[in-house]
Amino acid sequence: MTSVAEKSSVGTAETPPPGVARRASAWARRAPLLPALIFMIIVTQLPFVATLVISFMDWNAYYPEERGFAGFDNFVRVFTDVNMRDAVWTTILLTAGVVLISLVLGLGIALLLDRKFRGRGAVRTMMIAPFLVVPVAAALIWKHALYNPEYGLFNGALTWIWGIFGSDNPPQPDWISNMPLWAVIFSLVWQWTPFMMLILLAGLQGRPLDVIEAARIDGANNWQIFRSMTLPHLRQYLELGGLLGSIYIVQNFDAVFTITSGGLGTANLPYTIYQIFYQAHDYGRASAAAVVVVIGTIIIATFALRTVSSLFKEEGRR
């Protein structure tokens, strides 16, 4: 990261004006950046400082007169809370499940769409549609119009298929109660596969075709070409899709809130904290949980940012 920064600053300091003038020009450079930077610090960093302070306080909105300093009590409660531990697991399963499944599906579909065939544009447009449905609306549609055991499309289709074979006793599973976490995961995979597909398709189309042609002439088979040329080329696109997908899905609230209301073991961290804050009104504990989540996120994000920054350096080198 620093090497890029240094390189750029060398380029800009051709005529080093001495003293005051130099400082003035440095500020002139910074000026356009400052409004955005200050805005971000006030709106995103200050609240976090407040969260940190509140996390050490005994503060429940239901008992306003008992507000006071709590030391590490809130943190002890967060770490010993079974719900919180479950929420951590749920969050990991949910995020990893959605990101991995939609990456694999997205890759397969991107490869299918990288060929020329009749109606390619139409199929691409159809594929994008799920991503353009408002997330809450999508979750509501999955819950009521698809998963519903009595009149949802899934069980409707089962009745229909069984009816074709003359059976009037089709299986009618209650999808959400039987597999709550998967129900949430599938609805999110449906929304995020198009996203992965779009990024990977753009990556595929940036592939050097002449090199592939040359390899083919040299007798490489399709699997070899895919393994040793396509996949390495796609690596940075896979990483980008995985990272951006994780950033959004780790914070998912809409699907969990709508489809299961956090019940049946689907409460992830955002939902759990929302509940402690919005329903239990335990501000101290909610803040402590938030602080723990932020620390966890920082640890994971440090690795993730290293990935982006390596991608970014490649771009800078170009």
């Binding site: 955005a36 709106v43 407040a50 299918l112 009749r118 999508a138 009149y151 396509t230 929302y274 989540v293």
Partner: protein, 285 residues
């Protein structure tokens, strides 16, 4: 699995039977993915009785009953839709106003340590939004800003600003250095350079950024739910509250979901390529 076989057909060449099967597979997958959306639209035009049939009544007569019920049945959806529009449009404008100069200072005339600043912006996206929810709520409560659309506008701006800065930086770095230098040689001042050299190159990028910011603001639920009530309620919040109280409601729900998604569907379909650029923070061109 698909991967190996797909490669069998180099793009642009005549394909054998395998190719035809793959095209068919692509069509089937596409239809499966769009099916829930089609089902939503179809159901929204059915009567409630037909919408709740099992097996599904695909060819039932079409009606506008669901839409009529949605728009004039209970609480009017217009105020929430207008709130969403206000919050999305104004926050997008504010984001562009802040992001474009910032991106300029991170690409064309970069400040020192510009890449650190860039990563600071991205890192705020990784901070869980719930962590800032409570203090913002308390602040809003004390400042009398609860249930006020301006609070949402401010929050959505902070939510989208990092994405916009990354995107705009990526687009601004495409402005050729030679062109900037040539403009400087010709004695063009800043306004002139901005107008005649930079603007033509980055205008499509600004459109892509605006599209993404609009979509994300329009879709947001968690903050809108916590920080608004009856006055500043947005369309997604309206959707969640609207389900609970109804009896037979599937057609109406589908109509509501379709109406709320319509702006995003229209904008997204109209600008498919911009969508990819935007979602990848400008790194996929």
């Amino acid at each position: 699995m698909t991967a190996t076989t797909v490669q069998a057909a180099p793009p642009g060449k005549k394909e054998g039977r395998g190719g035809a099967w793959l095209s068919l597979l692509a069509w089937v997958v596409g239809i499966l993915f769009v099916l829930p959306v089609v089902w939503m639209v179809l159901t929204s035009f059915h009567s409630e009785a037909n919408a709740a049939q099992n097996p599904p009544a695909v060819f039932a007569p079409l009606t506008l009953e669901g839409y009529r019920e949605f728009f004039s049945g209970g609480a009017s959806p217009w105020p929430p839709l207008l709130n969403s529009l206000t919050a999305s449009v104004l926050s997008t404008a504010l984001v562009l106003l802040l992001a474009i100069p910032a991106a300029y200072a991170l690409s064309i005339k970069p400040v020192k340590k510009w890449s650190d600043v860039l990563f600071f912006f991205l890192s705020t996206k990784m901070l869980p939004v719930v962590a800032g929810l409570l203090p913002l709520y308390l602040f809003a409560q004390n400042a009398g800003l609860l249930d006020n659309v301006w609070l949402l506008i401010l929050f959505y701006t902070s939510m989208n600003l990092p994405i916009a800065v990354w995107m705009m930086r990526s687009f601004l770095s495409e402005v050729p250095v030679e062109m900037l230098e040539a403009a400087q040689m010709d004695g063009a001042n800043l306004t002139k350079t901005l107008r005649s050299v930079i603007a033509p190159v980055v205008t499509p990028g600004i459109a892509a950024t605006a599209l993404i910011c609009f979509i994300f603001s329009w879709n947001e639920l968690l903050f809108a739910r916590v920080l608004t009530a009856t006055v500043a309620e947005t369309a997604p919040v309206f959707l969640t509250s609207f389900v609970t109280s109804q009896g037979l409601f599937l057609a109406q729900l589908c109509a509501a979901a379709f109406v709320v998604s319509l702006p995003v569907l229209v904008a997204g379909f109209a600008a498919q390529d911009k969508l990819v650029q935007g979602l990848s923070l400008g790194s996929v061109k």
